[in-house]
């Protein structure tokens, strides 16, 4: 997993290496400072031989000032490189994820829900970015500091330095226990948090239901239950964590006391020859540095384990391979709009029951086909196989006499225009949205397509006509208007096959029939497949397919089906019952 993620570092390798390098050098400087300090105190202040001492102090002082300034510059450089490396890494990671998702097939998109893809691209990337910055800066800093400080301490006095060796494992093991125990509880807390958020969210969305059933108290009780869980778990985790600071202090204080006692003894016994006062002070400084770096290390450990979940989620996307790929030597032209289904079966999940089976169908180029069926009868599934949004599980689908799997995907999809059931307009002007169909469409072509889709009228009435801004998700046009714009967008592709998946459900019947008429007159050579709930939308089709439970129940003209097909008759009657006599 790490290898795959690391691939996204790319051009930021230099910064990623420089940053820990500078950090290490900075740490080296910081470790040298107490050593020099010891000399300054022992040879300068403590020696107290008048002007000679002052000279010592001046020299060591100057060296120390230079050292700290160098250390400051190194630290700043490390910070700068870490920022560049992490921001750049995040950029590349986001880029890679986005590109991977763009190549996803419908199956891939279905597997991850939209919301989860969005979270992975946003929150998870940010988490990994922070973790990465931690790694290149602090994750190096602490161990380096630990090792350097220990080394320096040993050069001063190996016996006293052994005290650290005793303290480090105590702190290390203590921290390990605290963190692992607290972490598992925290993970549970986060899950409970999700639950809590879920309750709030459901109440916000369903407040009308809550209020109309007078369930305010019931909901409050539910909330308080979850809230209590958080209280309990959080308290438990924090109680464990509360040992953290005292443990640290215990180690620090023990070191100080032991170093003071034994250090003083060594100095006194040796008369200041084996060790001097300044060195004692340096040792105390090192003891703090050693313990602090252990503390930091434990924090990093926590941070990294938290972001590990994010990294895993990102990796899932990076690993995901699109199951629909271009063939080796693709066919680059679609001859005509004929379609044929041969023994086609399909299931969304491998191994599960087929939701579409035994489909055999021949559609001639230029034919108009209506498709009718209840929800869940796999109408949409059937048509989505044509532009190869999904691959068939059994049998084959041919367009223009050639298996769809042999076409270049872009060529195929450019020839097969599909207006999806759940359609989307994007933020931008009307014109920009329509140009999705054809980037180079002229204004005339756009208007023509809109006239066919019966959208020209209302677009012209809008404030800025074709330059009117569409809000994200198309919230500032009505459902019917949105559908007509989507149809116009598809028409601009000048497709050989046009598929409307329940795309006129919010359009009134009169406009609907105008659209059908325009299709018949203006694009007679285009094969048209129209899925609809309303019989009136498909009545005039050359043939109508009745779908039921993933199978073709009947095929025929309106009149034929009315005579022979019960389902069709039932649907027809449910929609027209009583109205005939009124008309």
């Amino acid at each position: 997993m790490l290898k795959r993620l690391a691939k996204s570092i790319r051009e930021y390798k230099k910064e990623s290496i420089l940053s820990p390098l500078f950090v290490s050098l900075e740490v080296l400087m910081e470790v040298i400072i107490p050593l020099l300090m010891a000399r300054l105190i022992d040879d300068g202040i403590n020696a107290n031989v008048g002007d000679g001492s002052l000279k010592f102090i001046a020299i060591y002082g100057a060296v120390l000032v230079v050292t700290t300034i160098v250390s400051l510059i190194l630290g700043a450089l490390a910070g700068k490189n870490a920022a560049k490396a992490s921001a750049g890494f995040a950029k590349n990671l986001r880029h890679d994820l986005y590109y991977t998702v763009q190549n996803f097939s419908f199956t891939n998109i279905d597997r991850f829900s939209t919301a989860s893809i969005v979270t992975r691209l946003t929150t998870d990337v940010t988490n990994v970015q922070h973790a990465y910055q931690m790694i290149v800066r602090i994750a190096f800093r602490s161990p380096v500091m630990l090792i350097f400080s220990l080394c320096a301490a040993f050069t001063i006095n190996a016996k006293l330095a052994l005290i650290f060796v005793g303290c480090v494992p105590v702190l290390g093991i203590g921290l390990y226990f605290i963190i692992t125990r607290a972490h598992s509880i925290f993970e549970r807390v986060f899950k409970t948090y999700d639950k809590l958020n879920n309750v709030v969210q459901e109440n916000l969305r369903g407040i009308r239901v809550v209020k109309s059933f007078v369930r305010e108290e019931h909901e409050s009780e539910k909330f308080e239950g979850v809230s209590k869980n958080i209280y309990d778990d959080f308290s438990k985790a924090e109680r464990i964590l509360s040992f953290n600071a005292p443990l640290m202090q215990f180690c620090a204080y023990s070191c100080m006391i032991l170093i003071s006692w034994f250090g003083a003894k060594i100095i006194i016994n040796s008369g200041g020859t084996t060790m001097e006062t300044g060195e004692l002070m340096s040792l105390l400084t090192y003891s703090m540095q050693v313990l602090m770096s252990l503390m930091m290390l434990s924090m990093i450990f926590v941070m990294i384990t938290i972001s590990r979940a994010s990294a895993e989620r990102i990796d899932e996307i990076l690993c995901e391979r699109s199951n629909i790929e271009n063939p080796k030597s693709p066919v680059m032209e679609v001859k005509d709009g004929s379609i044929s289904f041969r023994d086609v079966g399909f299931s969304y999940k491998e191994g599960s029951t087929l939701c579409l089976s035994d489909v055999d169908l021949e559609i001639k180029s230029g034919e108009t086909i209506g498709i009718i069926g209840g929800t869940g009868s796999s109408k949409s599934t059937l048509v989505q196989l044509i532009p190869r949004l999904y691959d068939v599980t059994e049998g084959c689908v041919k367009v223009g006499g050639i298996n769809v799997k042999d076409y270049d995907i872009k060529t195929l999809r450019d020839s097969v225009a599909m207006v999806l059931q759940k359609n989307v307009l994007f933020s931008g002007t009307v014109k920009e949205n329509l140009r999705w169909g054809n980037e180079n469409a002229t204004d005339e072509e756009i208007e023509h397509a809109c006239r066919l889709a019966q959208a020209d009228g209302f677009v012209k009435e809008m404030e800025d006509g074709y330059d009117t801004h569409i809000e994200q998700g198309g919230t500032n046009v009505s459902g019917g208007q949105k559908q007509r714009l989507c149809i116009a967008r598809a028409l601009l592709k000048k497709p050989k096959i046009l598929i409307l998946d329940d795309s006129t459900s919010a359009v009134d019947t009169k406009t609907d029939s105008l659209i059908q008429k325009a299709f018949a007159e203006e694009i007679p050579n285009t094969t048209k497949l129209i899925i609809a709930q309303r019989i009136s939308s498909v009545k005039n089709a050359d043939r109508i397919i009745v779908m039921e439970n993933g199978k073709i129940n009947a095929v025929g003209t309106h009149e034929e089906l009315l005579r022979t097909n019960d389902i069709y008759k039932e649907v027809y009657e449910s929609q027209t019952e009583g109205s005939e006599s009124d008309e």
């Binding site: 250390s71 970015q129 002070m281 389902i567």
Partner: protein, 636 residues
């Protein structure tokens, strides 16, 4: 969604663009109210913090004693007496132990306080939210309300558990260390003060820059995330139009912009710590040099004093840094607390109603209140005279010349009068925004009318207690809103004491029983809001069953069957007809075929009733309804 506390980039120090609290004094006072509920605990915590800080300072001072009183004088002596030194070291160890225990206790004691306050705030917020009028939910973005529960309570947690204790102990440390430093050497103290003053300039410059870039990073991040969200939601459309390359191109441009502002923001945040730390080292070095100079040239200081002072100067600048860092989190937390309090201060739904709904029975032809569940309900109406009258609940709804507007000065309903006799079916037809749903919102008093009267069984609905009024009304909406839980729990939501049999018969009534039985665990199948295991149509059937189990005399069906295909609808319609039987029903439907059999169809346009009558009457009128019905007009 921020559920991980305390992560993510924060700008260092204060600067422009930080959320400022509008009314800080008041917010603090109110927050104190919550904290003071744990008064004794708070005092203990503060005492412990005091002890622990003092122990730390004593440690720094100890070094002077160690060097000056023991090491230096004893170095020359031939037979050193270690008893005194041992005593001093042991005393110090004792002080440390006290400090350690005090620190641990303060950590431990603060937990219950912190978590208790948070729970109180959370629970208070939620139960208050439940009392708010629908208007509040309609006019506030759900994301904003959500963030009160997530981000804002989280910053509050940090405030109580970290910022406040840390600031308190920092202040104690600063004061005592300052005293100790003055005691040790006033000249060096002045030097420290000057250098800290200079360092604060650096802090402010970097902090300001960092905040500035941080703001632009947030903006760019918002752009990128917004783009991702829009494109991923439309991903299937992108694929159908082979628009991948274009979308990649636009994404890259935004991503590049984010990268550059994120780099800048992080550079300033990253260099802050090393610069501060090294300036600290520099100060440390200069103190040693200056101290050494003073000691040798003027003999003003002992070696021990310098050693102690060096330690003290470290203990001095650290808490000052901490306080300045904490101040920014406090400002953020207070802004969050203010938003929480704002929510809690929102006015609850007012309810002056005093007429209540009670179980009733007829005794000797007279309606009496009873504690038994009789299936018969009555309005209990206490009068000013002390007399109590009972009116049988029948479901007679009468709107008289009602005017209404969601915002003042902008009426959406004009002069609407409707009478729904018990058991009648009233349908509303009209374009979006014509005021259909608005009328139903007035009947269950989600909103209150501006002018006119609404009577329920002859009683002005303003006199009826809201909860009792709503209990007598069933409602099925287009957006079904099922809750996380089992199918059975969701149906039972209509009436919490319904038996399993009642739940099942309600499901049968709504023709939901069959598909429920086909679910993996039948009635015990979990419904998860996100899993989308049920189709929209199935959700609607459950919502209908939920209303059926409540068994109210009046039903409101707002586009209840719009997500069901016409053939299934025909099946559901049977259930619906069964459900509607004997009840007063208000129906709003897009598909005119579903309302054809209504007793009274009301056609609305721009908040006015333009036609009314039965289906046949309206068709004969050849007016708007006729046009709609024959498909000459679009209902949008």
């Amino acid at each position: 969604m921020s559920r991980m506390p305390g992560r993510g980039g924060k700008p260092v120090g204060m600067g422009p663009g930080m959320p400022k609290s509008k009314n800080m004094g008041k917010t603090i006072k109110r927050l104190m109210g919550y904290i003071l509920e744990y008064k004794t605990r708070l005092i203990f915590v503060l005492v412990c913090l005091l002890a622990s800080s003092l122990a730390g300072v004593a440690g720094s001072m100890f070094l002077a004693t160690l060097i000056d009183d023991y090491i230096t004088p004893m170095i020359g002596s031939a037979v050193p007496d270690f008893a005194g030194l041992l005593k001093a070291v042991l005393t110090m160890a004792g002080i440390y132990v006290i400090g350690l225990v005090a620190n641990w206790l303060s950590n431990l004691l603060v937990i219950k306080m912190e978590q208790g306050i948070l729970k109180n705030v959370r629970d208070g917020m939620f139960s208050h939210m439940q009392t708010l009028p629908i208007k509040y939910f309609d006019t506030h973005a759900h994301g904003d309300i959500m963030s009160c529960y997530t981000n804002d309570t989280d910053t509050l947690r940090q405030l109580i558990s970290q910022s406040i204790p840390q600031i308190f102990s920092s202040l104690v440390t600063i004061v005592t260390v300052f005293a100790a430093m003055l005691y040790t050497s006033w000249i060096l103290t002045i030097f420290v003060l000057v250098s800290i003053f200079l360092m604060s300039f650096v802090t402010r410059t970097i902090g300001g820059k960092s905040a500035k870039y941080f703001v632009s990073q947030q903006e760019n991040l918002g752009d990128v995330n917004g783009y991702i969200e829009e494109m991923i939601h439309g991903q299937k459309v992108v694929k159908v139009f082979c628009h991948e390359d274009k979308s990649k191109e636009q994404f890259d441009a935004l991503n590049e912009k984010l990268c550059s502002s994120a780099t800048n923001a992080n550079i300033y945040a990253n260099i802050f710590m090393p610069i501060m730390a090294n300036l600290g080292h520099l100060q440390y070095v200069l103190i040693a040099v200056l101290g050494g100079f003073l000691a040798i040239k003027f003999d003003m200081l002992t070696l021990g004093a310098i050693a102690s002072f060096l330690q003290l100067s470290k203990s001095f600048s650290m808490p000052i840094n901490q306080v300045s860092q904490q101040i920014s989190s406090i400002v953020v937390a207070l802004a969050g607390a203010e938003r929480i309090f704002e929510l809690m201060d929102e006015k609850s739904e007012t309810d002056e109603g005093y007429v209540t709904l009670v179980n009733a029975e007829y005794v000797d032809g007279e309606l009496r209140e009873t504690s038994k569940h009789t299936g018969l309900w009555a309005w209990k109406h206490p009068h000013g005279s002390g007399e109590i009258t009972y009116t049988e609940l029948k479901g007679d709804v009468y709107l008289n010349e009602v005017d209404f507007g969601y915002v003042e000065d902008k009426l959406v309903l004009h002069d609407v009068s409707i009478h729904a006799a018990p058991g009648k079916k009233i349908a509303f037809v009209g374009a979006t925004g014509a005021g259909k749903t608005t009328i139903t919102n007035l009947i269950n008093r989600f909103y209150d009318i501006a002018d006119g009267k609404v009577r329920y069984d002859g009683i002005n609905i303003n006199k009826i207690k809201k909860n009792d009024l709503r209990r007598s009304l069933g409602i099925v909406l287009q957006d079904t809103h099922l809750f996380t839980g089992t199918v059975r729990e969701n149906i039972r939501y209509g009436r919490l004491d319904a038996t399993d049999e009642e739940v099942e018969s309600a499901a049968k009534l709504a023709s939901a029983h069959d598909f429920i039985m086909r679910l993996p665990n039948g009635y015990d199948t979990m419904i998860d809001a996100s899993s989308g295991s049920l189709s929209q149509g199935q959700c609607q059937l459950l919502a209908i069953a939920r209303a059926a189990v409540a068994d109210p005399p009046v039903m409101i069906l707002d586009e209840a069957t719009s997500s069901i295909d016409t053939r299934t609808e025909a099946i559901v319609q049977r259930g619906m007809d069964a459900l509607m039987k004997g009840r007063t029903v208000f129906v709003i439907a897009h598909r005119l075929s579903t309302i054809r059999n209504s007793d009274n169809i009301i056609v609305l346009e721009m908040g006015r009733i333009i036609e009314r009558g039965s289906h046949e009457e309206l068709i004969d009128q050849k007016g708007k309804y006729y046009q709609l019905y024959t498909g000459a007009f679009e209902l949008e």
